[in-house]
Every structure is written in C-alpha cells, then in structure tokens.
C-alpha cells in the first residue's frame, strides 16, 4: 500500500471528512456572528455562552419535560433566540451609537456571568446527552457515525438558507439597506429597530441550534462555549468580519486544516488556526472575503 507523507490515504480521507464535520460547527457559529456583526455592528462575545445554553436547553427539555432531541432542535433555538431578543432590548440597544468596544465589553461580561451561573448550578464536568442516531456506516476508509453525517447536512442546509434569505430575498434586501442607512429605510415605513432586534434574535438562535447539534457529541458542559468561541472568532476574522459566505466557507476550510494538523502534528492542532489568522491579517487585513469599509 502506498503512503502519502507517511499516512495511508484511507486515513487521510477519514481525517478530511472529520475536518468537514468539525468545520460544520465552526461554520454555523461563525455564520451567526457574521450575521450579527454585519447587520448590527456588534461583536457578540456572548455567542459561546448562547451556544452552551442551546445545549443545556436541549438537556433540560429532555430531563424535565421529557421532550426528545427532535423537539429540542426546534424549541431550543426559539427559546435561546428569545433570550437573545431580551438581551438586545435590555442592554445592546443602548450601545448602537457607541464604539464597537462597548458592545464587545458588554457581551464579554454577560458571557462570563452566564457561564458562571451555569457552572455554579451544574458543575464543570457537564451532563450526558444521549445520541439520538446511534450507529453508523462503514465507508471502507472510515466509520462514519450517522449522527455526524446528519450534523454536516443540517449545518449546510442552515448556512445555505441563511445566505439565501439575506442575499436573495426582499427581506434580506431591507435588512442590508437598514444597515447601510437606517434613517432612510425607516422613512419608507419599515420598522428598523424591530428588524434589528429580530436579526439579533436569529443570530443567537443559530448559536442555540449549533448547541443542540453539539449536545450528543460533546459533553453538555458550561465550558463548551468558551472552548470554542475563540476559535470561531478567529474563523470570522479570517473569513472577513461580517461576510456571510466568507464565514461559512472559512468555517469548513479551517475545520479541514485543523483535521489535517491532528494527523501530521497533533500537538499544534489547537494553535494552527491562530497561525493562519496571523498570516491572513498580515496579507489581507480585511479577511479573505471581507471588504474594507
């Protein structure tokens, strides 16, 4: 059997596929961040906490109400999105006219508080959540669990739908216009503040949905968000802040890069994304798909 750089090709295919699966999470989370940043100009640092809340929401629905994964998949994003809307109305709304930094500080503080509350309540090791789709298929070069396949499909669908709504529909056009010039759009009789509020709710809902998708794979733990959020921010920066398509493509691509690093030099797998980020920032400060404003 021939080998490629010391690794048999089957193993390489397997790792590529795994990279795509992990990339699916990066893509979904960075998509939410990109939507929020693109439309609201808010750097949403609570995103990791909201992802974690999505997972916990699924766990609580199962434990206390007996509602299974598929219900949680619909209910949890709505609940978490509603929570996001509440945050927007109470806090974020007051910061739109200030510098980005204020929004960042506020959301960062909020995420620390939310994570602290959950850690205090549930401990740091987390809670188990059963896999709703056990088993898998042997593809010859690797064993693909059904659930992971479902995650990739679901995340691709969600990413495409979001992109389509924002870039190709009338509603999306209103949204983009409202970001460019809110006063003018309002003059046409469109309720801009409400639209912004719903957009934030949607972005947060996406984080919640990613959380539900993650619950059966990872431990439902208060720390799961903070482990991921920094990487996701790097993805957004590499893709170009606010670029929707950019964040999706970069998410998947970086998942693959990280997967390959895990084969060739596993010790560096947690840092490789930041090395890429540094290089991209040097060469293209606006990110790969971003436009300089």
């Amino acid at each position: 059997m021939f080998e490629l750089l010391g690794v048999p090709p089957q193993a390489l295919f397997g790792q590529l596929l795994l990279g795509l699966i992990n990339g699916a999470f990066y893509a979904m989370l960075s998509l939410g961040l990109a939507v929020i940043f693109g439309m609201l100009n808010v750097i949403n640092f609570t995103h990791g906490a909201q992802y974690m809340m999505g997972a916990f929401c699924a766990w609580m629905l199962l434990k206390f109400l007996g509602l299974n994964y598929w219900f949680a998949l619909i209910l949890a994003p709505i609940i978490i999105g509603a929570f996001g809307i509440l945050l927007e109305r109470l806090f974020l709304r007051r910061l739109y006219n200030l510098d980005h930094l204020y929004g960042l500080l506020l959301t960062f503080g909020l995420s620390l508080i939310i994570e602290g509350v959950f850690r205090n309540q549930f401990g740091s090791t987390g809670q188990p959540y059963d896999n709703p789709l056990p088993g898998g298929q042997n593809l010859g070069f690797m064993f693909l669990p059904y659930y992971r396949a479902w995650v990739v499909v679901a995340s691709l669908l969600v990413c495409l739908a979001t992109w389509f709504v924002i870039e190709r529909t009338r509603l999306g056009a209103y949204l983009r216009a409202a970001t460019e010039n809110p006063t003018l759009v309002q003059a046409f009789g469109i309720n801009v503040p409400r639209m912004i509020m719903l957009t934030y709710g949607f972005g947060v809902g996406l984080a919640g949905l990613a959380g539900v998708l993650a619950a059966p794979i990872y431990q439902v733990s208060p720390l799961m968000g903070s482990n991921l959020i920094i990487i996701v921010f790097a993805v957004v920066v590499i893709g170009g802040m606010g670029s929707i398509l950019g964040s999706v493509i970069t998410g998947f691509a970086l998942g693959v890069v990280e997967g390959l690093t895990k084969v060739f030099y596993p010790e560096a797998s947690s840092t490789v994304i930041f090395v890429i980020m540094a290089i991209v920032l040097l060469v293209r400060p606006a990110g790969l798909f971003g436009q300089t404003r």
Partner: protein, 404 residues
Amino acid sequence: MKKTLALATGLAAALGLGQAAAQVSDDVVKIGVLNDQSGLYADITGQGSVLAARMAAEDFGGSVLGKKIEIVFGDHQNKPDVGSNIARQWLDVDKVDAIADVPTSSVALAIQEITKTKNRVFLISGAASSDLTGKACSPTGFHWTYDTYMLANGTGGALVKAGGDSWFFLTSDYAFGHALERDTGAAVTAAKGKVVGQVRHPLNTSDFSSFLLQAQASKAKIIGLANAGGDTINSIKQAAEFGIVAGGQRLAGLLVFITDVHSLGLKTAQGLVVTESFYWDLNDETRAWSKNFMAKHGGKAPTMVHAGVYSAVKHYLTAIKEAGTDEAGKVAEKMRQMPVNDFMTKNGQIRQDGRVMRDAYLLQVKKPEESKGPWDYYKVLSTIPAKDAFRPIEQSECPLVKKS
C-alpha cells in the same frame, strides 16, 4: 482579638504547651488550597477540596497549639505561571504555612520547587505525576492520594492480564499525560505487552474523533486514555459514537474519577476498569465521612482527591501538634514518623521520597441495572496493597533516598 489571643495563649500555657505555642509563626496556621476552581478539573478538585480542608480543620477543633487554623483558596487555572504567582504571594506576603491539593502536574511541579526553596509544606492530592516523588521530590513535599505509577499498574496491569497485550495511547500533551503514558507503557511492557503507538492532543480538546480514528487504525487491543477530566469524558463518549468498543477494541480510562462517571452516565461508562485510592462506598467509615461531605457539597460524592485533601490536612495538623511548632522541616519530619490513620487510610506510611503508602482499589463501573441509588457506580474488583500499588523505593530517582 487581642484579648482572645491572650486567652488562647494563656490556655495553652496552662495545658503545658506554652513553649510550643510560641513557635507557631504569625500566630496562625494558614493552609492554602490551590486548584482549578473553574476549568475542566473543577469538579474533581475545586470547591470540594476547599470543603474537605475546612472539614479537617473543623474536626481538629479549629485551632492547633492554641492558634487559629485558617483555610484560604486560589484558582490556578491549570497554568503553572498563574499558580506560581499565587503561591509566592501566599508564602511571601499572606503568611500561608502549607499549600494543599494542586491538580495539574505541570503546576504541581512548579509549586513543589517553590515550597522546597521557601521551606513550606506541600500536601499534594490532585496532581498525578510520579515525578513528584521521583526526580522532583522535596523534603517537605508529600504525594498523598495517588500517582501515575499507581494508575498505570492498577488499570494497566489488570488489563494486560486480561489479554489486552497491545496498547495505543491517547495522551494529554503536558507533564501529567507524558508521565502517565510513560508509567503505563512501562507496566504494559513489564507484563509482556507492547505499545504500538500514541497520539498527543492539546489539553482541553473538545473533538477527539481524529485521534480516535488514528487509535482505531492502529488495531491495538487497548486504547489507553492518558488524560483526565473533560478530556477523558469526551474521549469515552466519542469512542462510543465511532463504534470503537463495538469494533472489539477496549478503552482504558487510566485516570477516571467518580464525578467523570457521573457525568458520562452509567450507560456510556459501564464496564470501564479504573483504579482509585478511595471510593465513598467501601466501608462504614468512608460512608459516614462521605455522607457528611455530600450534605455540604450539594449532594455530590467526594472524589479521591477530596478525601485525600482531608486526610493530608488532618495529618499535617496532627504533626504540628505533636512537633509543637509549625516550622516546615520539623513538621515534615514528624509527618514521616507518624502513621497516617483516618477514614481512608489504614496505617499509611510516608516514605523518604514523600510518597504516602496506601492501598489502592481496582474498580469496575457498574451496569445501569446494577446501580441501586445515586452515586452507586463501582464494584470493587480487588484491593491492591500499598507495596504493589506504588513504585518501589529502590527504583526511585529521588535524591533524598539514600541508596545503600
């Protein structure tokens, strides 16, 4: 305050301890519990260890040689630099006499050096690396609860005996993981097994699928998890997902705590063989202590680290009482002379290299239908006597051990 102090000194003097009482530095015996308060090891150590130390102080009557016992705690965030800063601040400014717990071997190794230089007592319960009583040993450092050698020989030895003679390691990439991989590898080789490979992952990884796939491809009979806490939990969970156990390979959780089992759920964790030096449901004494602990800890069972912190603090305080001083050198000497006896330790001896010799237990996680109540998770497979559980002193690299 002054009045009570005078009263306490007077009282002590009346009891014939006057001279000794004068030898407690700064008029307080302060113990700093330094561990992970918020990260992946927070449930294994964290506030539970602080509670255990407080319980030990309370059971001691709250004072020793007429001086108040005070317990403080800090969060080292699993970072050696953060831990070292807190330790220096404690020892130089805050008058802390002993540091306890300190999970995360890289941090513990740093603190071992600091306490050695500054001549303070170090009661290690949370950290695992056997180097703490090997080349990094200290005259005032005690390794109380377990170490990588114990885990390696307990779990590793048992699995090789059961036919698991080829191993692949999933190793956490820092001092602890390396030590555990090394010690287990040695145990496997000694039992005529072989190590076919390993992969090292960064601490706090969430996705293990890539590493598990490499382990699967190695065709090793046993996949040894040389990691801990959240990393172990995610490895086990995802191994089930990728059909590794169903495919005939076996997982060896080399360091699994009862809180990890709780978090995984019995359905996923059943059948795992683990080695621990304490389980709450061993006998009446352990049950009684644990019941008390659980009542104060939100119903959560104590880990062996929590129990070890209690045992270490209690023994330390007893040694201060017996030595009549809190000077680290004299206390450490006293600690070595006295046998350790408490709810988890029967006639434990402390060796020259600082290793506390105690029995370990080979445990197996119960099936869901075998568990009769909350936290009823283990059945005891066998007791490993202290002399077999820990590295023989002749093999120690500790410079304090005089070789004849």
